[in-house]
Symmetry: D2
């Protein structure tokens, strides 16, 4: 059953959860109806009256308890992540560990909602007036999460929402609702006000209705750009944080350690079968080392064989669905028909796509411009850093970008000129630790996640001026 | 002529500027066409390539020069403000002085765009990684300003835009385009890149087209809620800061200094003929002092006689137009017909409305729920602070609210429970100094102005992660 | 045995630990010799090479483990605190709970040692230069702690030292070395580098030699003003944080809730038998309520009967020693001989002093000017707040001061005019939570404790300028 | 005459000001007696009662006026700087420009003395308590300044003192009192409270007496290490900021741009005849480029010919006195007698020392360990960065250190391992802009200058806790 006001509820509708490795049904969950969603909104409103009064030490305690509970249920979470998303065991295990940390970091941030005192006597009109600024919880947070990191991305919304003093409604991806429901169950045990806990798998239409509802104060959405920007346009006056897709680029400059870079890039392109917003999709190599890097990457890609997600040590699992595979293949086909070379991969079986490396892909192709969301990447040579950056910026997205170079001048130039939310030096653009600010520009989204930053977005500044004449 | 890329341009269309005191035409300005607007966008894009490279000391120098130039042209600005808005001389003079300060504060803030270094080694994955966060200019700022403070509110957009390293297009209110044009002329002399300076009076339709244009990166709008929220809904992916209206409330508690409060409230209700977003519109008085305050305010209101805006010492000038007067009168009439008492005022001549104090107005009336934007206010008694706050919160707006009380417990309670952007203690909600964060919640807008805060909104955070393995 | 480099060491010298309730020996500990101290310094230097390399997540883990271990050993700590200091059971229990939190807060702060990026291009010479500022651990911290809160005050030095990345030598008060030794034993189990753990009870002379040693980088001393300032003068180039005594004053204004104030003040004057740096020692009551407050306090003081520290519910225990009792009595006698009235108390038996309330004490008396460090306080009337503040400031000390009033004007005036490190409104000056900055001015010390602030003192800012021509 | 309480005073004693280029007397100033110093202290105490009440806008206005006045009197200041210090014209001119900026930056900082609000409810004891922290002016600042930058270093003390709300007594170097006296005269015209302005040339003994006086709240000293640390040891309870000497090192790594580095280093070693705390004194070159750099530096050093300070374009002027020359020569002689090679320079005439480059100097020599304070530097090769850093750290000083390298790994390693207050990358350690934090570790001093940082040191944090039960 789903969760409304901390209570288990049922409905007459079901969502089937399919194991992508076998395409068999693994579980069914109840799907919340319109009226369930209305109940969730009402409950969350009631819950907010309680959560906004929580003291720092209470929020810290709740979040630490939740972190501990996730840790205690690690094995169960791992099984769920493998089954609902087809995620390989090692990565599933890492995701649970990250979720534990994300909630722990939220706990640490919950006690640091400090404020500012500002001097108003900068002009004579401010004489005898003092200004104080504090942040207040915003209300009900509607969190909509995707299938690729169903647990940790839920934690990135729930954790800061609780730390900020908000109530929430969590709508997990229909393909992966189980980890979110378990998370909700654990939260109920922490002493967090029950009314404030709402986890409801539901249809897109029901979700959109909530997005337009004025009683919701904040929309936190992670998912596809098309859906995200549409939801923002119908969200009315509420604030919205959007974490959408990307086609992350990485530069390997002539002074880079090639082996190190190749190893990192292979992981960045193939982890979670490329179903990561910051998956390495576009590789730019300085012409001096282009051939060598290409060869090295090809070898590494070819060594990665898909396997049973249950088995530990397997690096590459299936895509989330047959449809996802088809879409990726059609983009690769389009590239091939337009002059690009498929250096390896393109092969597929069941829902697996073999690691695919593409060269000579022109910039207007889908593999260059759109998000592939599969274990596939393009590689291109460049003459100057300026040229490489121009190509990177020639994209509708701007989430993260990486560069391998030792030169401080290159680093500064790349940081200043590349238009993206995050710039990663000597590591892949896929790099994310949970305490850092994370988010994109252009089509890739707006706002920043990471508990400290999400708390800032999920709160409102209120000024207090005291006159003492 | 209007200004595109720092050059004076003409068109075939005109906007007449009417002196509200006489309803006679004072001047005509060219109105920018669609193609002029396109030129302005192109120019601003070109300008941004230069402004984003400006160093702190250059931005500071430009803004200090601009501040000095406004000061030097004070007399001319005062004449323009009197004529285009019907603003009385003393207030016009004060507005110019504030504009000087707003630009000066922007200069001071332009050298403080510092950044943060964050420890990423909070988890083992962050080991050897360092995070740096800096803010970068966002691009072209489209600034749309209202008639009531045509100079200082333009400065609140242009100042931070320059300080942040942005280019801009300023679209002044059609009724009051002259002060903005003069401001633009002065800016050209400061060394600020010419392409970045665009001031174009134009039609609403032309303005809306710019709002929807993807080449504009930030919309800074001050004006009516209806227009503001509509523009935000069509603004696409660009960020928008909205400073909209309000129906500001003030509480006079039983322990307040009544004379002091009455004096302040009179100014807060009548200044600029009530055409201020944070004009005192709703007065709540503790029942113990209700009658006394009512009497005191009535006397003060009655003493304020409208007069020739040119004459110094005149406190009350005309409304901006006949239409504005009619709209205010219709709300007062509606109130009277529904049981409210008109204690004084309601009288009008030419575009003047005499100070109007209304009691016994129920909460659903237009004088309670909407923004009157005229020298009129309601007064109501209350029993408990809780009750008064509930009434204040029972409004679609939430810009600023004031309270007169000495008690620290009341202050804290009022600050925590009143839903507004700013809470002013022992002063009127009309209080604003230019360095403070200013902005509202609910229908009253989103984002905060005041140079330090506007710079934050007009810039984008970019993360730099450096791995040092 | 004491602890050097995480190892248990013995010596030929002993310190006897006396139970103040019975004046009987409760335990003996080895006293470190000069050569032991030299070993501790050498070990701490070695340890620092390891602690300065600790990552945030490692420091957090060590401190959380330590916090958990203190919690697990609560009963043992309580018994020790009762016996070595004669502290009553309830307060001993509260001290252990605070120690758990102090270390927990240190853990939270250990992951927040962030830095700043500053714009250097404020002048043309700064063009192309960027400034970064980070804090680095300072080296070996020498922590000298007093007898009155032997566990929590040690935690206030050890916690931040670890969080900052420093090694340390802890020299506990000779009367109360046991809790510090147990703390050291627990720390060894956390994975903190052993060389960095040094806890050595020793003679004052040995301690002073360490203070003058250039290999020690920071002196953190809590104790008497005479010793503290002397140590600072011989500390050479090392930084020193001093938390010394006070003769804390509290004002009860005419608008205060008298019962509430009297209740709080009784606790503030008598807790830990007045052996608290911020114990209420000087009570100033507005003349309108002076008699009533005096009566109320007298009644409350008289109800507090000393008792066996072991028994829960007992509020007043013995002073630390016969000598301490004698010194307190001599000051009270001096007051009585010079015109002051002893309203209650002055009675004593064993090491107990009964709660003593003194009126009409002139300002030059020892009970007014020096620190009594016993359950005794003076009470005086005042006419105006100015007068009361002047009397409060007429003291060599300035640690904390309190006021009971509701009026925001009084609060501001008191905050601005009273010369002290902390001002407490509507609570006693004895108020301290472990996360707040704590420390005094004048004779009362220098620097601030509280983990966030102590970390700042125990680290050094280092600037990095990068030129990118 | 000198200045006490903003008034010109005379005494019976004189100090002769000698022009180092000709060794002739240029002027005489009155020397303040003990009783004058007492008057200055009394006046500064009175002044503080006024300065501490100054509003931000008043302090900003005073400092901006002072900045303008210095600018207006530039020619006069330049003449004074040339004559009292023998400083060459171009550098004198640059110093005045920097002084203008230092005071301007102080003006900007004076309006930013903001505060913090901290959450005290991190533990249950903090429930209902709010913490506010503001900074308050500390009292009278005693500023003691050296001869080498007599104007700008005075501004670095006076500017922040005014910005912080303090009064001051300025004791300039006896060799260069004129610029400080002129600065004082200008300050009197700004509206700053006259009592707060005290500029008194006096004997060291009189200065030391003031240092020990309890009415002085802060000692800001720039000068020699021996004097500085001695003064700190007799300063009693007052805070002291010490900016002392150094023997700044710079590394030229194998990947550096040698011409650029050599050019910068020549300036860094010879500017102001090496009489700069952060003058380049120790050059470490990677063995691969050692010979080439040595040759390049030798050529550059030899081209720099001392000349008449009055003439513009002259780079090298005389040392401050014959004694200073003798001391520098004796260190160079000692080096030569102990195996070092004098590659160029060592020649002298009048008070000039020709640029002196020394190789093969062992580490224990005075040219390596002490501060030369003359246009002389040593050069040594190194094999690894570790080795070079070890040599740099093998010095009693730690002010600033520089490195020329492009490699981000080297930069990070150098920043982390070099023990100094500031690390300068791709520029000389002599780099200082007036807005940056500046100060050293070890013998080089304590505390940081630069207006933002000096204000922090010249103020005291005061906590306000408000309980709202």
């Amino acid at each position: 059953g789903f969760i409304i006001g901390g209570e288990i509820k049922k409905s007459s509708d079901f969502i089937d959860v399919i194991y992508p490795y076998t395409d068999e049904r693994f579980a069914s969950v109840y799907s919340a109806s319109e009226s369930d969603a209305e109940d969730a909104i009402i409950s969350s409103q009631k819950g907010f009256l309680k959560t906004k009064k929580l003291k720092s030490y209470q929020k810290r305690r709740i979040l630490e308890k939740l972190s501990d509970l996730i840790c205690e249920h690690k094995d169960l979470f791992v099984e769920i992540l493998i089954k609902e998303g087809g995620k390989v065991r090692d990565l599933s295990s890492a995701e649970v560990e990250r979720a534990v940390e994300t909630i722990k970091i939220s706990a640490e941030e919950s006690v640091r909602m400090d404020g500012d005192i500002i001097s108003l006597d900068r002009t004579i009109q401010g004489e005898d007036h003092t200004g104080l600024i504090r942040r207040f919880p915003i209300g009900t947070v509607l969190a909509i999460t995707p299938f690729n990191y169903p647990l940790n991305l839920a934690c990135h919304k729930i954790g800061p929402a609780i730390a900020a003093g908000n109530s929430f409604i969590l709508k997990p991806a229909s393909k992966t609702p189980l980890s979110a429901l378990l998370l909700g169950h654990l939260l109920i045990k922490t002493g967090y006000p029950k009314d404030a806990v709402n986890v409801i798998p539901c249809s897109s239409k029901t979700a959109e209705n909530m997005v337009t509802d004025d009683r919701i104060s904040y929309l936190s959405f992670t998912g596809s750009p098309a859906v995200g920007w549409h939801l923002k346009s119908v969200a009315g006056r509420k604030k919205a944080g959007l974490e959408l897709g990307g086609n992350a680029a990485v530069i390997v400059h002539s002074d880079a350690d090639l082996n190190y870079a190749a190893e990192k890039i292979t992981t960045g392109a193939l982890a979670n079968a490329g179903q990561v917003c910051i998956s390495v999709q576009r590789i730019f190599a300085h012409k001096k080392i282009y051939e060598e890097l290409l060869k090295s990457l090809k070898e590494r890609f070819e060594k990665v064989i898909p396997g049973d997600p249950e088995r530990s040590g397997v690096m590459l699992g299936p895509l989330i669905s047959k449809d996802a595979l088809k879409e990726a293949l059609s983009k690769i086909d389009e590239a091939e028909q337009n002059g690009a070379k498929i250096l390896c991969g393109k092969k597929f079986e069941n829902n697996f796509l073999y690691p695919t490396l593409i060269s000579d892909a022109s910039i207007e192709l889908a593999v260059s411009q759109t998000e592939i969301f599969a274990p596939a990447a393009t590689i291109s040579p460049y003459n100057t850093l300026e040229e490489a950056i121009e190509k990177i910026n020639n994209s509708p997205f701007g989430l993260q970008a990486g560069i391998f170079t030792k030169d401080i001048g290159n680093i500064r130039f790349f940081y200043e000129e590349t238009y993206a939310g995050g710039i990663i030096v000597n590591d892949i653009p896929t790099y994310r630790v949970d305490c850092m600010p994370y988010g994109g520009v252009k089509m890739s989204g707006s706002g920043r996640e990471g508990p400290r930053y999400a708390i800032r977005e999920m709160t409102e500044e209120k000024l207090l001026v005291i006159n003492n004449p």
